[in-house]
C-alpha cells in the first residue's frame, strides 16, 4: 500500500447526499477479473452521454477539476454495495482523499485499505467548503494525517478522527494482511479450542 502522510490539493465538489457505489462505478463494469481500467468508468452515468461523449455540465469533465486529488461530497458517501471497485476507480482517477460529513461503513473500510483517506468534517465546514469552492475553483486545502488536521483555505485548522490502527497502516504503507498473518499462533490456538466444526467439503 502507498503511504499517506500529507496532501495539498484543489477540491472537486459533488454536493449530493448518499452517493452510492452504483453511481461511483456501475455494476455492469464489475465483470472484470482485474482491478485495472476502472477510472474510465468512474461516475460513468453522470459523466457521459448515451453516445459516450462527455457531458460538459458534469464537474469531472470541467477543466478546473483536472488534477484535483480531493473529493468533497455530501453526507453518507459510498453507501450501497461492498464493491471495492469503488475506491479502486477513485484512486485510479487520481483521488487520494474524500471529505464528507459521513461515510458508509463498508466503503470507509475499503477506502482505507487502498490508501484513500476518508476525512469526516462537520456539516458547517462542509457547507463552507462547498461555498468557497463555488466562488473560487482554485481553492486548496491541506491534509496532515500525522496530526489529523485539515487546513482550510484561510489557514484555520480543523481536526478529523482516524482510528489509530488505520492511521498507523496509512502512514507506514502497511497492509492489514501482513498484520493478520502474524497472528498465526493465536488463530491456530483458537481453532484448537473450538468445540464444533463446519465442513463445507463434506455432506
Amino acid at each position: 500500500m502507498i503511504p499517506f502522510t500529507t496532501l495539498t490539493s484543489r477540491i472537486l465538489p459533488l454536493p449530493i447526499d448518499n452517493i452510492d457505489t452504483d453511481q461511483i462505478i456501475p455494476a455492469r463494469f464489475l465483470k472484470t477479473i482485474s482491478k485495472e481500467g476502472l477510472d474510465r468508468n468512474l461516475f460513468c452515468d453522470w459523466r457521459y452521454h448515451e453516445d459516450g461523449s462527455e457531458r460538459a455540465d458534469f464537474i469531472l469533465n470541467q477543466p478546473e477539476a483536472q488534477g484535483a486529488q480531493i473529493l468533497l461530497a455530501g453526507d453518507n458517501f459510498g453507501c450501497g454495495s461492498s464493491r471495492e471497485h469503488a475506491p479502486w476507480a477513485l484512486t485510479q482517477f487520481g483521488f487520494r482523499a474524500i471529505l464528507s460529513s459521513s461515510f458508509a461503513d463498508i466503503f470507509r473500510g475499503n477506502a482505507l485499505k487502498n490508501s484513500l483517506l476518508p476525512v469526516v468534517i462537520s456539516e458547517d465546514v462542509k457547507q463552507e467548503l462547498f461555498a468557497l469552492r463555488q466562488k473560487d475553483a482554485g481553492v486548496e486545502v491541506s491534509i496532515d494525517l500525522e496530526s489529523q488536521t485539515l487546513t482550510l483555505p484561510d489557514g484555520r485548522q480543523v481536526e478529523f478522527p482516524v482510528d489509530p490502527f488505520s492511521k498507523y497502516c496509512l502512514l507506514n504503507g502497511v497492509d492489514e494482511l501482513g498484520y493478520l498473518v502474524k497472528h498465526e499462533a493465536e488463530i491456530a490456538a483458537w481453532e484448537a479450542r473450538q468445540p464444533w466444526a463446519l465442513n463445507t467439503l463434506g455432506a
Binding site: 449530493i16 455494476a27 482485474s34 452515468d45 450501497g80 497472528h183 463446519l198 463445507t200
Partner: protein, 468 residues
C-alpha cells in the same frame, strides 16, 4: 452475576481471537461465502503473496451475479461474464474450495444458497464479499458484507479485522394486516431512519411481529439491514430457527445436533442488556410500502402521495429529493397508485424464496398480467426452482403471462443482460433503487412480492389489498 449482554455482544465475544490495544479485534469467521464478482482480485492477491486458503472447509462458492437466467443448456454469451465465471471455477479448483458453479444443482444467489443448505447456523460469524450478507443474520448469526481486500484476508487467515459495532434495537410489535409483509416492515424502518441511520451499528430485530415471522420472512428483513446503513442485522434464534435448520445438508446431525441446539439456546439477548440505540415500530399500523425515489430510504405507504422537495430538512436534502423526482420523472404531491409500469421483477436475495413465490403466485393465479408489462419471476436458487416447479408455481406464472427463469441475481443488479431500458419503470422486489441499478436510465419502485404481482396485473402501481 456477569453483566447482561446482547446477542450481538455474545457472538462477538465468542469469536475474538486476539485484541491488541488500539487495534481492531481479530474476529474468527465460521463461514465464508464467495461469488464470482468480488473474489478474482482476492485470489490473485493470494497467488502473488504465495498464500493458501487457510480453511477451505469453512469456505464455499457459487456463481450468481453475472450469469444469465436463460436456460442452463445455453452457453454464457457475454464473453466477459463467461471469463469471470470460469475464473471462479478455476480459482476454487486451484485453492481447493467447494464451488456450486453454473451447472450445479445447488447453484443459487449466495444468500439463498447458504441458508437452504443448512450452512448458516445460529451464533456463527459469516462473511461474503457482498453487502447483503446480513441476510444470514436471520439465524442469529453475525454476518458482515466485506470488500475484496477483506475477502483475501479471510481466505488467507479465516479472520477479519473489525472494530466493535454499536447495538441498535429494532423492536417491531403487533400483528401485520393482510397485504402487509416482512418487506414492508424493513422498507418502513429504512424510510424512518434513512439510509445512513444505522451507520456503525448492528441491528437486532425483536418484538412480537418479528418472532412470528417465518425464517424466509426473517431473511427478507435482515437482508436490507445494509439499506438502513447498518453493518449487519440479526434476529435471535428460536424454535422456528431450529426447525428450519434441522435435517438440512450441512446442519449438525444426531448428538451434534442436540449439543448445537443447547449452545444456540444461550444466544438470545439477556434480560436487562442495554442497547446503544432503540426504535419501536408498530406493526399494526403498517401499510404496504413502496419507494418513489433513488435510494431505499425514499419510501412511503402505498396510499400516500409522493413527497415534494420541501419535505427535505436542509438544502442538500431538498436538492436530493428534487434530483430523485427528476430522475424518476415523478411529480411531488401526486399519488403513486395508478402510475404505469413497464416491468415487474420478482426475485433477488430479498424476495426470491418459496414463500415469496407462493405469495406472488396466489395473486397471479387465474389472472393475467397486463399486456403492457413484462413480468419476470426469477427463483433464488436451483433448489427453489425445483421446489416451485414441484408445486406447479411455474405453471401459474406462465399461465398469467409471466416469464419463469433460471436462478441468479438477474435484474436486481442488471449485470447479466436482464435489464431495464432507459426511462422504463419497474416494480421490483429487490433491495436497491439507485439510479441505473436495474439498467442505465431505468426507474425502480421497491416493493413486496404481493405489491409487485398486483401491479403486474393492473399494469400500474396497485394496492394489493384491493384484490385480496
Amino acid at each position: 452475576m456477569s453483566k447482561p449482554r446482547t446477542i450481538i455482544q455474545k457472538v462477538w465475544d465468542n469469536h475474538v481471537v486476539a485484541q491488541q490495544e488500539g487495534a481492531p479485534a481479530l474476529l474468527y469467521i465460521d463461514l465464508h461465502l464467495v461469488h464470482e464478482v468480488t473474489s478474482p482480485q482476492a485470489f490473485e492477491g493470494l497467488r502473488q503473496r504465495g498464500l493458501k486458503v487457510r480453511q477451505p472447509s469453512r469456505t464455499i462458492a457459487t456463481t450468481d451475479h453475472s450469469i444469465p437466467t436463460t436456460p442452463r443448456s445455453l452457453p454464457i454469451v457475454d464473453p466477459i461474464a463467461a471469463t469471470q465465471v470460469a475464473k471462479l471455477e478455476s480459482n476454487c479448483k486451484e485453492f481447493g474450495i467447494p464451488c456450486f458453479g453454473f451447472h450445479s444443482e445447488n447453484q443459487g444467489i449466495v444468500h439463498v444458497m447458504g441458508p437452504e443448505l443448512g450452512l448458516t447456523q445460529p451464533g456463527m460469524t459469516v462473511v461474503c464479499g457482498d453487502s447483503h450478507t446480513a441476510t444470514h443474520g436471520a439465524f442469529g448469526a453475525l454476518a458482515f458484507g466485506i470488500g475484496t481486500s477483506q475477502v483475501e484476508h479471510v481466505l488467507a487467515t479465516q479472520c477479519l479485522l473489525q472494530q466493535p459495532s454499536q447495538s441498535y434495537e429494532v423492536r417491531v410489535d403487533g400483528v401485520l394486516k393482510p397485504g402487509v409483509t416482512a418487506k414492508d416492515i424493513i422498507l418502513a424502518l429504512i424510510a424512518r431512519i434513512g439510509i445512513g441511520g444505522g451507520t456503525a451499528s448492528v441491528f437486532e430485530y425483536r418484538g412480537t411481529a418479528i418472532s412470528s415471522l417465518s425464517m424466509e420472512e426473517r431473511m427478507t428483513v435482515c437482508n436490507m439491514s445494509i439499506e438502513g446503513g447498518a453493518r449487519a442485522g440479526l434476529i435471535a434464534p428460536d424454535d422456528t430457527t431450529y426447525e428450519y435448520i434441522h435435517g438440512r445438508r450441512f446442519a449438525p446431525q444426531g448428538e451434534a445436533w442436540d449439543a448445537a441446539v443447547a449452545r444456540w439456546r444461550m444466544l438470545p439477548t439477556d434480560e436487562g442488556a442495554a442497547y446503544d440505540k432503540s426504535i419501536v415500530i408498530d406493526a399494526n399500523s403498517l401499510e404496504p410500502m413502496i419507494t418513489y425515489g433513488t435510494n431505499p430510504g425514499m419510501g412511503i405507504a402505498i396510499s400516500q402521495p409522493v413527497p415534494t422537495p420541501d419535505a427535505g430538512k436542509d438544502a442538500i436534502e431538498r436538492d436530493s429529493i428534487r434530483k430523485a423526482l427528476d430522475y424518476m420523472a415523478l411529480e411531488g404531491g401526486k399519488p403513486l397508485l395508478g402510475h404505469p409500469v413497464n416491468v415487474v421483477f420478482i426475485g433477488s436475495c430479498t424476495n426470491s424464496r418459496m414463500s415469496d413465490l407462493r405469495q406472488a403466485a396466489a395473486i397471479l393465479k387465474g389472472r393475467k398480467v397486463s399486456p403492457s408489462v413484462r413480468t419476470m419471476v426469477v427463483p433464488g436458487s436451483q433448489e427453489v426452482k425445483r421446489q416451485a416447479e414441484a408445486e406447479g408455481l411455474h405453471e401459474v406464472f406462465r399461465a398469467a403471462g409471466a416469464e419463469w427463469r433460471e436462478a441468479g441475481c438477474s435484474m436486481c443488479i442488471a449485470m447479466n443482460g436482464d435489464q431495464l431500458a432507459p426511462g422504463e419503470y419497474c416494480v421490483s422486489t429487490s433491495n436497491r433503487n439507485f439510479e441505473g441499478r436495474q439498467g442505465k436510465g431505468g426507474r425502480t419502485f421497491l416493493a413486496s412480492p404481493l405489491t409487485a404481482a398486483a401491479s403486474a396485473i393492473q399494469g400500474s402501481i396497485a394496492d394489493v389489498r384491493s384484490i385480496l
